[in-house]
């Protein structure tokens, strides 16, 4: 193979490589039931430090992506808080992730709805992308092994939570 051919092949490979990299970095395939969920650390919405889903290994976790500017998120917040109060415990917790939102607005939202469950901040939407969300709100039930058990795109209400999520949790106060 001549020098020119090698250069041409390298050029084509570079272009194809850039295209593949672009697609891979922008594309989001989404999670399927049974897939391990991402556990990258995120800053806490209020206070210092960070948190991660990895810290919840061994517990059931209902991960809820939300934003203060999202009206359906406002509609579902009371139901999530009620579910946390009724089912939260050593074996289950709700975890909120405020995504693509201003931190001040997110903190106001938490206070307005009196949300008692932990909240993380995903300002650039990286975690929402890793979970394959297409918007907010979206909710994911993660089992104690860190695998996805249920995905609810769109808002949840008491009926959804009690009818679809609660039956998967361990008996009694979780």
């Amino acid at each position: 193979m001549s020098f020119r051919s090698v250069i041409a092949v390298l050029g084509v490979l570079a272009v194809v490589g850039l295209l593949v990299f672009g697609l891979a970095s922008k594309g989001s395939s989404g999670l399927a039931v049974g897939d391990p969920v991402p556990t990258s650390a995120l800053p806490r919405l209020e206070g210092d430090g960070s948190g991660s889903l990895a810290a919840y290994r061994g517990r059931w976790v209902l991960v809820n992506f939300w934003a203060s500017w999202c009206e359906p998120c406002r509609a579902e917040a009371p139901a999530l808080e009620k579910f946390q109060r009724e089912h939260g415990g050593p074996r289950f917790a709700v975890l909120g992730i405020d995504t693509r939102d201003l931190s001040g607005d997110g903190q106001d939202f938490v206070r307005e709805f009196g949300l008692s469950y932990p909240q993380l901040r995903d300002g650039d939407g990286g975690a929402a992308h890793d979970y394959g969300t297409s918007g907010v709100p979206e909710t994911f039930l993660v089992d104690p092994q860190g695998r996805l058990r249920l995905h609810v795109p769109g808002p949840v209400d008491e009926q959804t939570l009690e009818g679809s999520v609660a039956p998967l949790l361990p008996e009694g106060k979780s």
Partner: protein, 156 residues
């Protein structure tokens, strides 16, 4: 005389200082052209989503606090990450967005120049209509023989 000069200088400074401050003062219209609405994926200037409206309020509050454009963009990056900037920052990996096109342009120009030089050296363009130097390339020995044979055949 000195006192008059000092008074004049003070007057000029007093007139220029507010103008300079006004020139540095950020405006929503200018910032909107330089940042994105992260949810919409468009310039904030073009976005009308609820998130974009909150972003505008945030920027307006910072303008009210007297922050400069740079400070406002830094605050937006702290909230939304680097992707909120319409143009990537000129540092780190993002620098490649500026450097790579320049390098590609230089490589393309160099390749073009080398190609043209080789083409001219090989006598390209001299045989065509109005082909460059105007001096036709000398025919090969075989072509000359063919030409002579053809001329002889037509008995010109």
């Amino acid at each position: 005389m000195r006192a008059r000069a000092a008074l004049l200088a003070a007057l000029v400074l007093a007139l220029l200082a507010p103008a300079a401050a006004a020139a540095e003062r950020a405006s929503l219209t200018e910032v909107e052209k330089q940042v994105m609405c992260p949810v919409c994926g468009t310039l904030l200037q073009l976005a009308e989503s609820p998130q974009a409206q909150r972003e505008r309020v945030f920027i307006n509050n910072l303008i009210g606090e007297g922050k400069s454009e740079g400070e406002i963009k830094d605050a937006l990056v702290a909230e939304y990450g680097n992707e909120v900037l319409a143009l990537p920052p000129e540092s780190g990996f993002s620098l490649s967005a500026y450097v790579v096109p320049i390098i590609a342009l230089l490589v393309a120009a160099a390749a073009l120049a080398i190609g043209v030089l080789r083409w001219r050296r090989a006598g390209g363009g001299s045989g065509g209509v109005g082909g460059g130097s105007g001096r036709p390339a000398a025919p090969s020995e075989r072509d000359s023989e063919r030409l002579d044979a053809d001329l002889a055949r037509y008995d010109l």
